[in-house]
């Protein structure tokens, strides 16, 4: 599969799992996309470790240092997996994986070249797993009551994925 | 062509008309039907309840009656499955009978299997009428893998309208000793099956295993339904 095909499958499968999925062409578009996604006035957490993360939240108001009080986390994730439409967060480079768990809204940035086509390819890349790896597909959910799907349980109620070049 | 007919204990005692229809059908297709005398039961009731010795005894007796190389034909999916799949395993350590059991397993057919695979009966025209639905017996379907043959034969019944049953493959609740040991559950399952049948609007329900049809007939009767219950061989024989 070509990179375009991988991205296309990734976005389709992510959407099927109730994640928002969008593609942006450059840093400016990324910043605009993030600004549109975050809720007006609500606190946003971003580790701002990578260039992409910094570009994504450039000029964004209401930034907080503590993800535990944030309404949304904006972060670049470790990887994507096209087969399942998943993103992967991991405890590398001092990252707090809880940042993708506690806030109500998770905005995940994944460069297209970090998207693996299959689960096999992803796991092959994980030679020495960090302490905590989370393969995330869509927002949190449950069907515990009458098997009726309810989105947004203990983890994020909303997941938006932005694919960058 | 000649076949050996295994009537089954259920047909022998309770549904001899199914045996009659089986013979009539086979003879219509020019098959010589031999009924080896002294046949009793395939041994399922014992086998399914965990009584392997008694089941082995039944198998030994069966194999002493059904000798030679002719196809063995039976109007019961579960009995055919017993011979085909369980006899070789039951007798694999028996020096004398291991080979015989494998031979019998290799030449046993459930009726709809034989009609379609060997006689191509589904290519002929039979007369049918009314609205018909079909119950897929568990052993027939899951162990023998007979899924298409009954449906092909049903479609050969010109004049009958076939309506598929919801959850056709769900167990009727017979289960051999199960119906005696857990009658409450058995009746509940039979009742659900009756509901599925009644939902089709059919006037007749058919199948390939008399034990299932018996359970179904009782389930329908308890609901006060007048839907007729007929073995597929009966419908075909009547439609000749």
């Amino acid at each position: 599969m070509s990179r375009e095909e991988v991205v296309a499958v990734f976005m389709e499968r992510a959407a099927l799992a109730a994640a928002g999925a969008a593609q942006v062409a450059d840093d400016a578009a990324l910043r605009d996309a993030v600004a549109l996604l975050v809720h007006e006035g609500k606190p946003v957490y971003c580790p701002a470790l990578t260039a992409l993360e910094q570009a994504a939240v450039l000029g964004l108001a209401n930034r907080v240092e503590n993800y535990a009080v944030a309404d949304a986390t904006v972060e670049e994730v470790l990887a994507g997996i096209a087969e399942t439409g998943s993103i992967v967060c991991a405890s590398v480079a001092g990252r707090a994986v809880q940042a993708s768990l506690l806030p109500s809204h998770h905005i995940a940035i994944v460069p297209s070249w970090k998207i693996y086509a299959t689960l096999e390819e992803f796991f092959a890349s994980l030679t020495s797993p960090p302490t905590n790896v989370a393969i995330i597909t869509g927002p949190s959910r449950t069907a515990d009551i009458e098997l009726t799907l309810a989105i947004g349980v203990h983890g994020p109620e909303r997941l938006d994925i932005i694919v960058t070049p | 062509m000649r076949v050996q007919l295994f009537g089954t204990c259920m047909v022998d005692s309770f549904y001899p008309e199914v045996g009659d229809a089986t013979v009539r059908l086979l003879e219509h297709f020019g098959v010589e039907v031999v009924f080896p005398p002294g046949q009793t039961c395939c041994g399922q009731p014992a086998f399914n309840a965990g009584y392997r010795n008694e089941a082995r005894g039944a198998a030994e007796h069966f194999l002493s009656i059904f000798t030679g190389n002719d196809p063995i034909v039976t109007p019961s999916g579960s009995c055919a499955a017993m011979v085909k799949h369980h006899y070789p395993e039951l007798l694999k350590d028996d020096a004398k009978l291991a080979e015989t059991s494998r031979s019998a397993a290799g030449r046993v057919y459930e009726m709809s299997q034989f009609l379609v695979q060997v006689l191509r009966a589904h290519e002929k025209v039979f007369t049918g009428s009314g609205k018909l639905t079909y119950h897929s017996s568990c052993h027939l379907t899951r162990i023998l893998g007979v899924r298409e043959e009954p449906l092909l034969l049903i479609s050969a019944l010109q004049g009958a309208e076939f309506v598929p049953m919801p959850d056709a493959m769900r167990c009727c609740g017979f289960g051999g000793m199960f119906m005696a040991k857990l009658p409450e559950i058995s009746c509940a399952l039979a009742d659900e099956k009756a509901e599925s049948i009644m939902a089709t609007g059919a006037d007749t329900v058919t199948g390939c295993d008399s034990a299932c049809l018996m359970t179904i007939a009782d389930g329908l009767q308890r609901r006060g339904s007048g839907i007729k219950v007929k073995h597929l061989v009966q419908l075909l024989a009547e439609g000749l």
């Binding site: 809880q98 689960l119 796991f123 020495s128 905590n132 203990h154 | 005398p37 002294g38 199960f178």
Partner: protein
């Protein structure tokens, strides 16, 4: 789970379930829905049979070399910072976990779903020791509030309808009554969030343990599994010894099979990989991780003829298609595990004396065999257990006598046909004796049996 095993009352339990119309409706709705979802989920998979073969092979491989894989897992988990304990039985597991928590002064533990913790009765033990255990999985939370046990291994509160849950929350949490699952879920989110953040310890199960990397794998949807394994400083994971996989490369097969088999999802919202404790420079991970590997009878099963039961990956697909489970629900089975895998595993783990009626709980229809992702030959195992019941002396003497007669008659046509005639003559008596629900369902024997119509 602290309630006594009631498997011996399976028939009476079942009769009660059958009479419970709201339970019947809940079970029908659930099993119909599971069926539709599973079919849709696997429709997209072109090589399902090959996948099942692979999964079965991998699980068999693990069972064939279990001691070695356990050793490998232990070594790798330990070098990643975990403390790995082997618990021989339920009591030692409970005591171990209780003492770890007590020593660290834990007052409240947040718990993710773990069937094996139900099996050993962990919650009751901890509560008796003065430790509050909060079930954080929504289904488990519901039954904990209700004081019940799970009735399904994936969806513990499947036997309840929305009205019952609404009333439960209104009564026990003091919230306004609502039967909207979305509203009820948000209530649980709020209640649980406080607990996660206040918990002194997290207790979880694990779907798999990876020998090669020493990792625990959790398949979850709600986020509570992630919470209890990454927020509190202390994490205790309990799983049974056979839940191992050799390497990370084996995971894709199970990621493709387990969620589809369980709930019809292509993948759960979260697949978590936990490898040891927080390393220097990391901001996620427990500071202290205890992994309790529970045997509780598995070694014995492994050495026996029913060892394939240990391939089970706890997906629940078998109970979702079982006509008996559909009719009677999970509680009728009287112990932790219901349905086809439950009747076999319960009998193997708790013994024939406590479980023998369960081996009857099957019509041998084979629907379970059709769907088991790891190809456990459940019907064959049930037949083996039925044989074992006889040899261990738990069959009724009336049945044994009857079978002996049958065994003699079936080999002797003269006797067989004579019995047919006698049955017909005494049919009204037979019907009366066995009841309208047994012989009353059979037609009257024919006056001219088929064998007398044939030359």
């Amino acid at each position: 789970m602290s309630e006594e095993q009631t498997s011996r009352n399976f028939r009476a339990n079942s009769a009660a379930s059958i009479a419970d119309s709201s339970l019947r409706a809940a079970m029908k709705n659930a099993t119909d829905t599971f069926g539709t979802r599973r079919t849709a989920a696997f429709g997209a998979i072109p090589d399902l049979e090959a996948l099942r073969d692979k999964a079965s092979e991998v699980r068999m491989q693990v069972l064939d070399y279990l001691p070695q894989y356990l050793e490998k897992f232990t070594a790798n988990a330990t070098s990643a910072g975990a403390m790995v304990h082997r618990a021989h039985d339920a009591q030692s597991a409970k005591e171990l976990i209780g003492s770890i928590l007590k020593e660290r002064g834990v007052k409240m533990a947040a718990k993710g779903k773990s069937m094996v913790s139900e099996e050993i009765g962990l919650n009751a033990h901890l509560e008796a020791a003065g430790i509050e255990v909060v079930e954080t999985d929504l289904g488990e939370y519901i039954i904990q509030l209700e004081g019940e046990t799970p009735s399904h291994i994936i969806v513990p509160a499947i036997h309840k309808n929305r009205q019952q849950v609404g009333r439960l929350f209104a009564d026990r949490l003091g919230v306004p009554y609502s039967e909207d699952p979305q509203v009820l879920t948000k209530i649980a989110r709020k209640v649980m969030r406080e607990k996660f953040l206040a918990a002194d310890a997290g207790i979880s199960g694990a779907n798999f343990a990876i020998a090669e990397s020493g990792s625990l794998v959790l398949f979850t949807n709600e986020g509570n599994g992630r919470m209890v394994t990454s927020v509190p400083k202390l994490h205790i994971a309990i799983l049974s010894v056979e839940k191992l996989l050799p390497s990370l490369a084996d995971l894709p097969t199970f990621i493709r099979l387990l969620p589809r088999s369980a709930t019809g999802q292509a993948i759960t919202s979260y697949v978590s990989l936990i490898t040891g404790t927080r390393k220097p420079g990391e901001a996620t991970g427990a500071e202290e991780l205890h992994i309790v590997l529970l045997d509780n009878g598995r070694s014995e099963i492994l050495a026996g003829e029913c060892r394939e039961m240990l391939k089970c990956i706890r997906c629940g697909a078998c109970m979702n298609v079982c006509p008996v489970y559909r009719t009677v629900g999970g509680h009728a089975y009287g112990w932790t595990y219901p349905g086809p895998m439950g009747m076999v595993l319960t009998t193997l783990l708790t013994g024939m004396e406590k479980s023998y009626p369960l081996v009857d709980a099957s019509t041998l229809c084979g629907a379970c065999v059709d769907v088991c992702p790891v190809r456990i030959p459940l019907v064959d195992l049930i037949l083996k257990l039925r044989g074992r019941r006889i040899s261990e002396g738990f069959s009724s003497s009336r049945e044994k006598l009857g079978m002996r007669f049958f065994g003699a008659a079936v080999k002797n046509p003269v006797i067989f046909y004579w019995l047919e005639r006698v049955s017909r003559l005494f049919w009204p008596v037979i019907q009366k004796l066995s009841g309208k629900n047994v012989a009353g369902r059979l037609p009257e024997p024919s006056s001219k049996p088929f064998h007398r119509r044939m030359p």
